[in-house]
Amino acid sequence: MDLSFTPEQLALRGEVVKFARKELNAGLVERDHQQAFSREGWDKCAAMGIHGLPFPREHGGSGADVLTTMLAMEGLGYGCRDSGLIFAINAQMWAVQMPILNFGTEEQKRRYLPRLCGGEWIGAHGMTEPGSGSDSSALATTAVRRGHRWILNGTKTFVTNAPIADVFVVFATTDRARGFMGVTGFVVEKGAPGFHVGKPIEKMGLKTSPMAELVFEDCELPLDALLGEEGGGTRVFSSSMEWERGCLLASSLGAMERQLETCVDYATNRRQFNRPIGKFQSVANKIVDMKVRLETSRLLLYKLAWLKSAGGEAVIDAAIAKLHLSESWVQSCLDAIQIHGGYGYTTEFELERDLRDAIAGRIYSGTSEIQRNIIAAQLGL
């Protein structure tokens, strides 16, 4: 396993950090309060090349490898405190662009990828349903072929980017006799007959990333809206999740590093009982634990990047990285608040927002419980 970085990769990370600090953080406390998505930040990230990083040049991307992409996303998480914006970008990159790249037809790639990589269009991914969360075999949304049309009926929920999206990757059951293997992926454009987006869903954190339901009522799609093979939806979905689990958390890794530095700085400068609070073991130990979590998370994440670069299977590694990073991020947020005492509890210090944002990581892209189930299954348990 080779986890060394080239000077070019490190320079790119540095550029992304510099860009994010300068362009993406203004007015964040207010935006979070108002649950406002920053289209301006989105456009700036697209112009910076973030959305298209690992995608081929002919489809509007930069053709970066996995390791470079993860390093850049880590830099974005380090420099940008707007985790909602980062989450929205990641949701599009890994669960919309990547499945279209890997499973789409040439026409789908030509139509969607340049617009998505360039930030012109926004994409959303709809899998979860009111009655089907972790259990994808229980999908109630159906797709029936009628003449030259697919007819979709059902509801998707917790769809990140839904209120602002132009194109959606969604999953429906086309053959119930095949169980979860009868699920099929589709690409749906805003304005398709019989399709509408519900009202935005309020949530605890990631407030700058909008979320809503998708409703399909005899929604008519052309036959070429199929994404991948009929019945191949589980493969499309699983592939997206493996990418998302790794790359989305790269940004959390960057945020963990930023938060650790904030805590070291605070513990060095804040004095109580005539000494810096970092001189008290109870405070220092918390910071040490944050550092250990950061470094173990980094190793797991870059091992995953290395495996994906080598084209290997990474089911268990993606699950381990997702579980460890998301749980570590939550615990480090709690520690950061505790180290800052009363200040940590205030909105002004922006640590409480980090905690609210971090908790989502234990739920999206497969809950911590599901990650443990996947790891157990891979161990033959």
Partner: protein, 77 residues
């Protein structure tokens, strides 16, 4: 076949005495998306082969008979 049957029954349908060879495991929800990970891991470890992404199709996993045929195909040199 007996070994595969016993594994599937004990792991996914422990309340039942047996699973018929032609019973549709996917349609009945006996094997779900998480179960397939367990089943593939068991087959790979027990019969010494590696399943590819392309192998994960209903034609290979819908019934015990199909799983048996799939394992036999994978074990052929």
């Amino acid at each position: 076949m007996t070994e595969i049957h016993d594994y599937v029954r004990m792991e996914f349908a422990p309340e039942r005495a047996s699973v018929a060879p032609d019973e549709n495991l996917l349609a009945q929800g006996i094997v779900d998306s998480l179960g397939i990970l367990k089943l593939v891991t068991f087959l790979e470890q027990r019969f010494g082969f590696e399943a590819a992404d392309d192998d994960l199709v209903p034609e290979n996993f819908s019934t015990l008979e199909m799983i048996r045929d799939f394992v036999e195909r994978k074990r052929k040199p």
